[in-house]
């Protein structure tokens, strides 16, 4: 390369008590480059970004920015240098307006009116349509992300770091985001783009650094790679291919008819007239952007919300609308929630004890817990689903997100359910683990279980499902067989525009 790198890392190492998060990582980001950082969960991507953003100090190595050696002590200093970051999880106050939120995040002392004016200018310049006066709780997730991006852009960054920016977006919103990013790059800004979505990286980025186990395992131009070659660099081996077997599906297991529920919390969604059927031996998917009633529907299905009319939810023929989760579990309903820590598992308890949330094989009839049987049961799940953990006594919070998800999915599949409901099965899970979870779900389907998957990732639903619904604004679309479903159709249904309810396809 003829010109000098904007950012150069040389031999960055960071040792945490348990793991070596970064091991002599070196990389160069050129001006005007969209540089992808690709890696599984736990590969050290986040740590590396936090080092660049000044939130974590490296143990070894140099950082050169704009040709000068720098020590980035904290995020303020990073922003002064011209480095901005958009985090995966938004840090916005729901009750404040867009402008107030941006204003709070800025270092310099501008008036609120001035900040509003700048937000308007920036959003006009980049086609990020955003009203500074709107309260954040009225925004969609995509709009909230725009607030974060605008906040980053107001610092006039020379390097913008984006952490998994598309995980919450509809396909259309993703296209919009990419247009903004390309415009930024054309103006000379560099972008570090963290993701594990291979096709996005291939579509957007011009350079890619792959991390594996804290080390740089490869560098490439992603436009010249295939998904398979990229994931091979990332996980070291080909992910197991999924085989769809055509089978006739069996009897009706879950039958939801005209389920309507007023929302419980003020920022929730009302459910209105939800109709949904799941049969033995099929995987039914629910697509849609989060916050359109999925959470409320899952609460009503799992039994965490028991306000539904008894008849509106039938499980294996029985009206269960008002039964609690344990009673539904006795009828064969098992559920994997999207919140792993704190709902699917108790963070401070060991994996073995976390079995007691939904499993009672190690409990005698009098309620006595057989500790060795419990540990053996946990070990079996850990082995079978290749969970990387310190053993059955490791605390749930000590596992990475992907490994905890493997354990929770394993815990529920191991119970041989009649109906398994899974929410965001591979959210934040690395490619290897995601493939493993998906093939476990398909094996379960092939064994005759009814499976309902709620996910924001269309690719995943296309890969897994036999039929699909779309959820929007608390309502559910008619079902589409996989042959009928296209990205364009599902994408347009995500905004709630489907034709008449009675036109049921299935």
């Amino acid at each position: 390369m003829s010109h000098e790198a904007l950012l150069e890392l040389r031999g960055i190492s960071k040792q945490y008590p348990a793991v070596l998060a970064n091991d002599r990582v070196s990389l160069q980001v050129m001006p005007g480059q969209i540089h992808a950082i690709l890696g599984e969960n736990g590969a050290g991507k986040s740590t590396l970004m936090k080092i660049i953003y000044g939130a974590v100090q490296p143990d070894q190595g140099d950082i050169r920015f704009n040709g000068k050696s720098v020590q980035i002590r904290n995020p303020q200093q990073a922003r002064q240098l011209g480095i901005s970051m958009v985090f995966q999880h938004f840090s916005l106050f729901d009750t404040l307006t867009v402008a107030q939120n941006v204003w709070l995040g800025l270092d310099n002392s501008l008036s609120l009116a001035e900040v509003s004016r700048r937000i308007r200018d920036k959003s006009a310049a980049y086609g990020l349509d955003l009203e500074p006066e709107r309260p954040v709780h009225t925004l969609s997730v995509g709009e909230m992300q725009r607030v974060e991006i605008i906040r980053a852009l107001l610092c006039e960054p020379r390097l913008l770091i984006l952490d998994e920016p598309t995980s919450v977006l509809t396909p259309q919103a993703v296209d919009k985001l990419f247009a903004v990013l390309r415009q930024l790059v054309a103006e000379g800004c560099s972008i570090l783009y963290i993701s594990h979505k291979l096709h996005e990286i291939r579509a957007l980025c011009t350079h890619c650094t792959v991390l594996r186990g804290g080390r740089v395992s490869g560098e490439c131009d992603p436009r010249e790679q295939t998904n398979a070659s990229l994931s091979q660099m990332m996980i070291g081996s080909e992910p197991p291919a999924l085989v769809h077997s055509q089978r006739q599906h069996g009897e009706l297991v879950l039958d939801v008819r005209q389920l309507s529920l007023p929302r419980l919390d003020p920022f929730g969604t009302h459910l209105s007239g939800v109709d949904l059927q799941v049969h033995q031996g099929e995987i039914v998917g629910i697509a849609g952007v989060s916050g359109n009633g999925q959470r409320e529907l899952l609460y009503a299905l799992s039994g965490e919300d028991v306000r539904a009319a008894p008849d509106s939810i039938r499980l294996a023929g029985q009206p269960v609308g008002q039964r609690d989760p344990a009673q539904r579990r006795a009828l064969g309903l098992h559920f994997v929630p999207d919140e792993r820590l704190g709902r699917g598992a108790v963070p401070t308890l060991s994996l073995a004890h976390n079995l007691l949330l939904t499993r009672s094989e190690a409990v005698s009839r009098l309620g006595w817990v057989n500790m060795s049987a419990l540990a053996a049961q946990a070990s079996a799940i850990i082995d079978k689903y290749q969970v990387k953990a310190g053993g059955p006594q490791a605390a749930a919070q000590s596992l990475s997100g992907g490994n905890l998800q493997k354990f929770i999915v394993g815990r529920e599949i191991d119970a041989a359910p009649r109906l398994l409901i899974v929410s965001q099965p591979t959210w934040g899970v690395d490619v290897g683990a995601a493939a493993q979870i998906r093939s476990a779900l398909m094996a379960l389907r092939d064994a005759g279980c009814a499976v309902l998957v709620v996910s924001e990732e269309l690719d995943e639903l296309f890969e897994l499902c036999d039929r699909m619904h779309v959820m929007a604004q608390g309502r559910i679309s008619p079902s589409l067989s996989r042959a009928q479903a296209t990205v364009a159709k599902i994408g347009s249904w995500m905004s709630g525009l489907w034709t008449d309810e009675k036109e049921k396809v299935h």
Partner: protein, 366 residues
Amino acid sequence: MKKRRCIDVWKLEARPEPSAFWRIASPLLALVLTVILGVLLFMALGKDPVKGLLVFFWEPIRSGYALGELVVKATPLLLIALGLALCFRSNVWNIGAEGQYVMGAVFATGVALLAEKSSGGWFFVLVLCAGLIGGMCWAAITAWLRDRFHANEILVSLMLVYVAIMVLGYLVYGPWKDPMGYNFPQTKTFEAATQVPRLFKGSRINIGVFLALAGVLVLWIFLFRTSAGWAQQIGGLSPAAARYAGFSSRRAIWVALLVSGACAGLAGALEVAGPIGQLTPYVPVGYGFAAIIVAFVGRLHPVGMVFSAILMSMFYIGGELAQSRLGLPKSLTGVFQGLLLFCLLACDVLMNYRLRWRSATTRGLA
């Protein structure tokens, strides 16, 4: 002009997992800090600190009789703390054990006053049961208000302490006052049949200590070896997980409050049918509040609380001795209890964080 300045500072760094070492070490460090602060306190009051420490930490274990007194005071503290630990582990904040203790004493007295000279030696069992039910009923008010109306159990249970003390006052100044008692506000001395059997001659230790130790075992088994015990605690550790699993939060509230009410009530009954032998306005001496400290210093662990109950009992005896030996007010007991709790809360920071000595650069304007 901006200039850079290097200063060395202690920094708190979050630990990836809570430290098992500091879980045990934190109460011990807190005790050491409490002793150091105690020494400074004695010096500030113009007393010999060595003498002061001897009064608090040596006198209570010096003789067999002293040890007996230590156990007599540790027993109700331990019993109450066992129930509170169950509450706190279930995320139910029962602050009103003192009231449940008083109502236990009142109910026990009600039964004890029915005893006659000819009553059999088993009568004390009835008295203890009455106390247990009394404490349970009093805690049930809190449980019902929380369950039915979502009333905050901290406020309700605390306010009910003062109601219970008023009830006690009404009874001993009114209907239950001993007619032969020279108008003192107290009931007649209970019949011998109501007395809880003592273990040794010349010591006030009674079988209450075995009940408390049995409670330690039962609580340990319930918490760590039964599915109901786990279910109870999961509501405290992460309510969303309890809801996901289908463990009833209403059930957890009732179990926690009824059990802790029963423990406190039993402690109250053991007190009036044991060392005191009658109901007086001086029954409430703050065991219900001190037991909160016992529970936390003992890490809400049944075995840990045995040690913290003994320590807290030392403070009670030390405070009484400080009054007679050093001429210091009895409220010194409360001062030491408070110091210990605050030191513990401060030391607990080390469980989740570690101290790091490192140089930090700050930017300042020259």
